[in-house]
């Protein structure tokens, strides 16, 4: 037990992978429909978006406030992400 706890604290937690789906106007802007992001935990939806803004040049044109989803439900930038999550960047909704 002591050894296990020690090793968990000492070695960095493994990175987590999330898939980010991109739709409509944003898919056009980024010229892609999904982005795989690997990030160190603990990470939030906002952290994932910040990493996309930093790594994809076209993403700098995304609006400062983004509607986003996590696992097919509306999410807030402060929500924590888990390995395997499906995130999404949603342009302004226009259903109806």
């Amino acid at each position: 037990m002591r050894n296990l706890e020690h090793s968990m604290t000492a070695s960095p937690a493994p990175l987590i992978s999330v898939r980010v789906l991109v739709f409509a106007k944003f898919a056009e802007l980024l010229a892609r429909e999904e982005i795989d992001v690997t990030i160190a935990p603990p990470a939030t939806v906002g952290d994932v978006i910040a990493k996309i803004r930093a790594s994809i040049p076209a993403a700098k044109a995304l609006p400062p406030e983004l509607l986003c989803a996590r696992n097919r439900a509306h999410a807030s930038p402060s929500d924590t992400v888990s390995d395997g999550d499906e995130l999404a960047l949603l342009p302004p909704l226009a259903g109806g």
Binding site: F23, A69, A94, G96
Partner: protein, 148 residues
Amino acid sequence: MPFLTEDALDLPRLVAQVAAPERGGIATFLGLVRNHNRGREVLRLDYSAYGAMAEEECGRIVAEAESRWPVRVAIAHRLGRVEIGEASVGVAAAAAHRSDAFEACRYVTEELKRRVPIWKREFFADGTEAWVDPTAAARTASVEARRQ
């Protein structure tokens, strides 16, 4: 039954999904594609969605309405190409009492527009096309209101 469909909306079928001998009042809402938007002539629309989430979000909205009022609710939303005058969205709410049917139908319609991840592209008479952004329209309106 999925909430999103490529087929034409069938209002009687939507009503049949919620009708029952004990529910005497059925309120519906139908959204039709208009030939003008913000002063420009529109020829047709093309709807797209985050399909998996749109289905789940519609399901959540229906469940909310059915727990808040004693109603049965149905939703149908078009995907793909929709022509002027065709229905793009339909909502039906059935209840024993008409006030419940009216209130639930309105709630579902408003929440659907506010929460379900669906987008539409407008094709204009002048040959151009654009994604519809209701928040841009709202911003413009509020700027114009401030100017007055």
